[in-house]
């Protein structure tokens, strides 16, 4: 993936800390730690957006939609953790879209049966 030029949109440290602290198990956080999270988040969003956009382009759309993001998530291994937050109907759409390719490989005689 090409490196993007970061224009320093840093996410607020206080907000990041709040999100981290929502997990009871998380212990003390060094003051400079949210800075790392901020940059990591930026990179993550850029990667997710980039992959989602690739799908929209494949479908000749100039508008990024929810299912583009769902698609990026199903296609990318490191994004597996996101499977739980994508609405089921969007995921199902994407999985079906991928599965539909299998129908091209159905042997001819099965098609004959269906007709009769």
């Amino acid at each position: 993936m090409a490196k993007a030029d970061f224009k320093n949109h840093s996410l607020p440290s206080a907000r990041i800390k709040k999100i981290m602290k929502a997990d009871e198990d998380v212990r003390r956080i060094a003051a400079e730690t949210p800075v790392l999270f901020s940059r990591a988040c930026e990179m993550f969003i850029l990667e997710l957006t980039c992959r989602s956009w690739a799908y929209a382009e494949e479908n000749k759309r100039r508008r990024l939609q929810k299912n583009d993001i769902a698609q990026a998530i199903t296609r990318t291994d490191v994004f597996d953790f996101l499977v739980y937050i994508v609405p089921e109907e969007d995921l199902r759409e994407e999985m079906n879209a991928n599965d539909s390719l299998l129908y091209y490989y159905v042997p001819p005689h099965v098609g004959l049966w269906a007709r009769s």
Binding site: M1, D23, R27, I29, E32, F37, A40, C50
Partner: protein, 154 residues
């Protein structure tokens, strides 16, 4: 009515500023491309989930090292473990830059920019305490003078 699950609620309530998020998203896309509202919201949710993931793993790394505070190196390790090793270089660079920025910044502290040894700093601190005490004592003297009036009400 079920009692509110405060712990559960807090995780959902805290989100990231949409305006900043949208700027980041738009940077990646050609200028004429639109982003559906629900797609934007989903991207923000994904980012929050990302923080949760890295945070949780950082915490694990931290405990394994028997440390009490999550430090930058724990975060970097977590990124590697979770398959985001590609991010490490940039994330570390941001951390280094931040260290430089806070050194130069006048917000770094009242006495920043002034170089002094620890002894000098202690002396300065004692002087400031003495000044504050003196101010407080002067204030109390004024109050004592008005006390007789209050004593009357008993």
């Amino acid at each position: 009515m079920e009692p509110m699950d405060i712990v559960g609620k807090s995780k959902e309530d805290v989100s990231l500023p949409k305006a900043t998020m949208f700027k980041i998203i738009k940077e990646m896309l050609p200028p004429d491309v639109r982003v559906a509202r629900d797609a934007q919201d989903l991207l923000v949710e994904c980012c929050v989930e990302f923080i949760n993931l890295i945070s949780s793993e950082s915490n694990e790394v931290c405990s394994r090292e028997e440390k009490r505070t999550i430090a930058p190196e724990h975060v970097l390790k977590a990124l590697e473990v979770l398959g985001f090793g590609e991010y490490i270089e940039e994330v570390y660079a941001a951390y280094e830059q931040h260290k430089l920025d806070t050194l130069d910044s006048p917000k770094g502290g009242k006495l920043s920019g002034i170089e002094m040894t620890e002894e000098e700093a202690l002396v300065e601190q004692q002087r400031m305490f003495a000044e504050a005490r003196a101010r407080m004592n002067n204030g109390m003297t004024v109050q004592k003078q008005s006390d007789p009036d209050r004593g009357f009400n008993g």
